[in-house]
Symmetry: C2
Subunit: 460 residues, 2 copies
């Protein structure tokens, strides 16, 4: 990129706002990415600076890739030479917490966990919860429409965002910092920026909906011989907990074995069952809720919806159970080359889909490893695969994505498309949808400078 543009950008964001050379190379590039390829990282301190940066880039036809906490899984923040990266890490203020209206107004660079910590004093919670909580930024959570552990109870990030301020490619600031749960005054513009992976605008500030912090929690892990038991169990606990179910996490035998045993996590249940599930209920009265939790699980057991269960009796036990689900270290080490997938599909199709993917993979790579886990309550499966070698990526991906076609499944439940899933977008989105997406992209970013080549390629 031209040195003149760098100088102009420097004039906007100050010396400390421009990183180049070794300063760029030293930074964490994100999962599945070797290095940050961008010529420079620009770090504005305000929405006006973001607007000025984009005006300059727009005029110069300069590609810009917004980066958040770099905890994404689909290379949506990958950069190459000739591009610049835009980081909002210096826009990290929690501007307001309103405990009466139960909203927070934040700059896009605030880390998820930082907000949650700040909310403790107010008895409130921001219910989005995912593995990257310690590094992911709220702007990135919005631009990727993050999901996570508690979607069944609270919904995706999209449902938590009341208002957005975003800057368009041409530097126009669109301020939709609505603070109300209800606001039907014309088109809901914020939806354009949520989940569009930085291709339609740069989110600079957010108004977030807060919830009352649950004060009770109950956790159990159960196992079952058949998938049908799990399907019945999910419906039964969702009904019987009457709105308090906050997680229903499926783990298959393969994943359970990878994470439990000698030198790993202690297995709360024997490792010979096909399916396991972690069930969590969050409420407001520990004693009363524990009684409900135990009563409901007791009845579920009597009905044969699971074969064995362990209820967490302490915070430590609860954590032990969750570690079996959240620890990805062992699977990344043992499944090589490692592939991670994130698909969604109707719950009723899940069992057949698991069988189909497994059969396809084992048919081609008999020694291939495969494990399923996921947010079953949301129809969301994560799939870990270790199979094949160099050049086999497309073949491995085909095992996961092709069986989604006949059931209208999604190649991305929560991770997004980025570069990683771009070749497969047609599995989940029709030609009409892709055409309309391209039209919207051209309307908002006619010069194609915002995260170009991510999600889809535009025909010239």
């Amino acid at each position: 990129m031209p040195a003149a543009l760098i100088a102009e950008l420097r004039a906007v964001v100050g010396d400390a706002g421009v990183l180049t050379g070794d300063e760029v190379a030293a930074r964490y590039p994100g999962y599945f990415m070797d290095r940050i390829g961008a010529d420079a990282i620009i770090r504005p301190r305000s929405t006006d600076e973001v607007a000025a940066v984009l005006r300059l880039c727009s005029a110069a036809g300069q590609p810009v890739v917004v980066q958040g906490g770099m905890s994404g899984w689909v290379r949506a923040t990958e950069t190459r030479g000739g591009e610049i990266a835009l980081s909002l890490e210096r826009m990290a203020a929690i501007e307001a917490i309103d405990p009466v209206n139960r909203t927070a107004t934040v700059q896009a660079g605030v880390i998820l966990d930082t907000l949650e910590t700040a909310l403790m004093d107010y008895g409130l919670t921001f219910p989005l919860d995912l593995g990257g909580r310690g590094s992911c930024q709220l702007g990135g959570n919005a631009s990727t429409n993050a999901g996570g552990m508690r979607v069944i109870r609270y919904g995706m990030m999209r449902e938590q965002v009341l208002g957005v301020e975003a800057v368009l490619a041409d530097g126009r600031i669109i301020s939709s910092l609505n603070q109300m749960i209800k606001n039907n005054t014309g088109y809901d513009l914020k939806q354009l920026f949520i989940g569009s992976e930085g291709t339609l605008g740069v989110i600079t500030r957010l108004v977030l909906r807060l919830r009352e912090r649950p004060s009770s929690s109950n956790t159990a892990i159960v196992c079952a011989a058949s998938f049908d038991q799990m399907v019945n169990l999910l419906r039964f606990v969702d009904q019987s907990f009457g709105g308090l179910l906050s997680a229903f996490e499926l783990i298959d035998n393969s994943f359970y074995r990878v994470n439990t045993g000698a030198g790993k996590h202690a297995p709360p249940l024997t490792a010979d069952q096909p399916y396991y599930a972690i069930i969590e209920m969050l409420g407001s009265h520990q004693e009363r809720d524990t009684e409900l939790f135990e009563t409901v699980l007791g009845e579920a057991g009597e009905r044969g919806y699971f074969d064995d269960a362990v209820l967490a009796r302490s915070v430590a036990q609860r954590q032990q159970i969750w570690e079996i689900r959240e620890d990805l270290e062992h699977v990344v080490r043992e499944f090589q080359p490692f592939y991670a997938f994130d698909v969604s599909l109707p719950v009723g199709d899940m069992q057949d889909y698991i069988a189909a993917v497994t059969a396809m993979l084992k048919g081609r790579w008999p020694d291939g490893k495969i494990a399923f886990l996921g947010h079953m309550g949301d129809g969301n499966l994560h799939i870990a695969i270790g199979a094949g070698g160099e050049g086999d990526r497309h073949g491995v991906e085909a095992c996961v994505y092709e069986p989604l076609r006949p059931i209208n499944g999604s190649i991305s439940a929560e991770h997004g498309i980025g570069l990683e899933k771009k070749p497969w977008l047609d599995v989940s989105r029709s030609e009409g949808e892709r055409g309309l997406m391209a039209e919207i992209k051209r309307l908002l970013d006619p010069g194609n400078i915002l995260n170009p080549g991510k999600i889809m390629d535009l025909r010239p």
Copy 2:
């Protein structure tokens, strides 16, 4: 409109699909509308027919106004001579109910209550609930992003819609009939059609998220001398019910007096308190939940969060309480000329706002009548006014809308903009937002044939 076009449309939808003359005049025009002005009502039977109709209208530059159950409050479905109305009443099939995935696939003309009745057998519920439930159509609920009584628990219509099939102005069918709670595969196109009041496309089919049907309910009405008590009470019950609070409906003294007393509803509480609230909790275990409900309200009373309360002890009592909130007959009769408003604002600003609106109105019309009620948990106030005479509409509206400017309130919480609120859109949406809305409208409907002049006027 040209007879040749009518003939072409007739060829598409059949003779029974075209209403003209007296058949049009005989139909209910909707609230605040004298008559259906359209030259014809076209009633397609399928998405393909809708597409064919729109292709013809697009080619002819023929304006088309989609009509649903005609229960809207902002004249978004008003028609005049030269326009045609498009009714989806012959697309009223519930195509599928999937109890495992907990989704329903419906045509846009299905009436809200019809779906709810069909779900009874499955132990499921579609949680959107509003006064128009017996006549409003699900396509209309989506295109207006309907709200209602249970938004605090379940969210707006937008949160209930998983997938949409819509037809663009040029007849292109955009099929985004996603069935999953999570689907991050590019832009979430359905958001364009939800809440845009038929100006960007015609919704023809929907995939809706269903919930487990609550099997317990508890209802109370409370009263308080101060607004602060209500603010504290809302937070306290939301926290203490741990996710089961499903309604918190504020009623002011004026509205309470209109609906109770001789010849009206029996007053469960004396009529001398400034504020009343109906509180409802939906759960899964009647006995257990009633105990929680009573314990929490008991503690709230001890803390001074209300001054008196009546708990419903029977279904009849519950209904009596709700009738005080839902009955609009008396207020429409006694407040003349009658104006109904629907605004939202941060809860912390509510008390001052109520005072400001009242002062403005009484300052101009000392005998004017005004009553507030609303979904306080959502920051949503409905305001009933009887004041002024012919030619005073703008002045009355100013009393309600002008005080929203400094607090960034919304002129429409759930009713939409239509024609009714179009002159006031700038109170809630900035020039930048309105400009972007117009650009999106031009992109999707370049001929401006879909519900032209609703929400906003386009500069030529």
